[in-house]
Amino acid sequence: MIARRSTPDSGTCGSLRISTFCLFLLLGVAAQLSAQEGAVDTTTRSNPQIPPAPVTSLIAEDFNYDDGENIMLTWVPSIDDQPAIGGVTGYQVFQIRNDGVPEKLADLLPGANSFRAQDLQIDSTYRFYVVALADGVSSESIRTAPIRTEREWIDWNLWNLMLITLIIGGAIIVFIETAKRGKKLFVRKIAGLEAVDEAIGRATEMGRPILYIPGIQDMDDVQTLAALTILGRVAEHVATYDIKIRMPVSRSLVMTAARETIKASYQAAGRPDAYSEDMVSYVTDEQFGYVAAVSGIMVREKPATVFLLGAFMAESLILAETGNSVGAIQIAGTARPAQLPFFVAACDFTLIGEELFAASAYLSGEPRALGSLKGQDVGKAIAMVAVVLGMAAVTLYSLTEGGAFKSVADWLHTMFTIASD
């Protein structure tokens, strides 16, 4: 249940975030910004009836790389804004749109020196002013020059991520094209996938069913999609050898997709008549309710082979140990690092992380799919070079305090950190 919360991002960009973020952590480069304290003026406001000094240097700037709805205001607080004398009780920010009526945007605490005006009209002109408040009196700042909100189509703050995406994505596409032209690409053997035939053969010999568990996440998790693509290959063998396949699922959409996948595999194997919708059944979305049902199926039906492929959480060990107890040969795979040790301990073969995603390409042997696997290696090379370079730079800087090493470390930090506004 705890693991439910620590969900790794599963989109393309999410994964890049993870990679870059991890890389950044591994380099051990931490941002340390020190809070700046404003200098304290010791003058006091003698007469409370006199309005406080207004804020000065009020500047309005269009917010960089946004949808055109934000303007950033900065100012120097009133010289009467000192905690010791309480000369200013707060600020109010006003906007005037297209020379219309002033409209209050916000009340701010004393000490405030900036404000981000949000939800503005795109391509509209605004002027702003700030009012410094004291006990019953106030003073307005001068108004800013008219400023127009501008929409930017590309967020250049993310240039580094864009570059990495283009390099890795580009490399994958280049290798896919290379493979398409017939160039032979070497892909190392993956023991867990080599064992798929053996596992299916065992079920045939024993005359017992195959149990296929695609994890407990929905179709929006890329691990579930990987599990279904492997299912397509497995189901073809199942249809050919006329073995019984059982697939209890915990999501309705997965049930529908899995049925389509198995049906197509049976058609491909020339056995459409042998396909039945009951091969895939929905149990429950509830995590441990699903585990109870699957464990029950394992104990009652004693499958010869169990596939545990997809996104698993705390239930991984319960399922794997129950499968082990009924003597099934088990092939597991997940991209959740926390669950991998359990699968390694309790299953015969485990697809570790990326192997799960490589599986369908590997099993199909389709050149374009294999090409995409080679493209990943470019990303790995970048990661390795950056890790080694980063470690060397940080270590040498700590030993020598050399500025050049710090520059390298800082550059890597910038390169692998997502800028936030």
Partner: protein, 314 residues
């Protein structure tokens, strides 16, 4: 500081009973293993059942010495001058509560004992209910003189995850214009002078999910320089160790971390000797079960070598 001694452990009558029950059985299994006989999984299950149930029924506790990473958090709270402002964020839910609630309780107890100003909040909708448990069991029961709004305050839950952190980093009141009971910010004396997270002397996030300790470090601790500490479930702790000590000033990992803190706090506060120590109680089953698992690993290896020798002979 009390160091655990064998005398204390052996002196515990509960331990003797458990040792007799489990130890004898394990020796028997060990002898069988020397003859090359496998242990059935149901026997393993039975031993785990006894090793978890017996310490719970007999309430066996062990003396704990705080590890460095726990001690640092304790010292941080202890060394801050009385009246320091500490922000405690309850970022967890009921499934995490068995591990995290004891931490939340003992850390809150320590903060109030030292006379600090405690500001409670949560980034998880479920965190408010968990704070209510601390409020009832610790604050109201053991600190009857603590005045709401002066010594402690509950700002409640605010949706927005990391977005909330991004805002309160520079403007707390903007996100929390009132406390959980809709009392305006300015009417609460404890909040006087607090404008942003930078005005706190220490931030403690309890809960290992997302948003949690890591987000507090990344979005608040690093940019503002305010010390951040945390208390998390055991499975999450390894991912946070690298932040210590430069970006985090202490971390309680799982029941063990909580038990070490409880033990150390109790030993150093004679007026709290009768306090509840749920983590220390839970450490009983955890300790015995771990030792039993270790024994089974030894038995498994003995079996492995005995059987291999037999095969070589053949």
């Amino acid at each position: 500081m009390s160091v655990p001694t064998w005398e204390r452990i052996v002196g515990n009558i509960g331990v003797i009973i458990v040792l007799l029950l489990i130890g004898g059985g394990l020796v028997w299994l060990f002898v069988r293993a020397l003859r090359g006989k496998e242990v059935d999984r149901r026997v393993v299950f039975a031993f785990i059942l006894i090793s978890v149930a017996a310490p719970l029924l007999l309430t066996i506790t062990f003396e704990m010495k705080p590890t460095h990473i726990v001690q640092e958090l304790y010292d941080k709270i202890d060394n801050l001058p009385a009246g320091s402002r500490i922000l405690l964020s309850f970022d967890f839910d009921p499934p995490m509560a068995p591990e995290v609630q004891p931490m939340a309780d003992v850390v809150s107890r320590h903060v109030l004992t030292r006379g600090h100003k405690a500001v409670f909040m949560t980034l998880w909708a479920t965190g408010q209910a968990q704070f209510n448990i601390t409020l009832e069991d610790v604050i109201r029961r053991q600190f009857p003189n603590a005045v709401y709004g002066e010594h402690y305050v509950d700002l409640g839950y605010k949706a927005g995850n990391e977005g909330v952190l991004n805002v309160i980093r520079t403007d707390f009141k903007k996100m929390f214009p009132t406390d959980v009971n809709t009392v305006p910010w300015d009417s609460l004396p404890i909040l006087e002078g607090i404008r942003s997270c930078s005005d706190f002397d220490l931030i403690i996030s309890l809960g290992g999910g997302k948003p949690g300790v890591k987000e507090w470090v990344l979005f608040v601790g690093d940019p503002t320089g305010v010390p951040v500490a945390g208390g998390v479930a055991a499975v999450v702790a390894p991912m946070l160790y690298p932040y210590f000590p430069s970006q985090m000033c202490g971390l309680l990992g799982g029941i063990k971390g909580a038990a070490e803190y409880e033990n150390y706090f109790r030993d150093n506060h004679p007026d709290h000797t009768d306090m509840e120590t749920p983590a220390m109680i839970m450490m009983g089953p955890q300790t015995v079960a771990h030792v039993v698992i270790l024994a089974f690993i030894v038995i498994g290896n003995v079996l492995f070598f005995v059987n291999r020798r037999k095969e070589v002979k053949r």
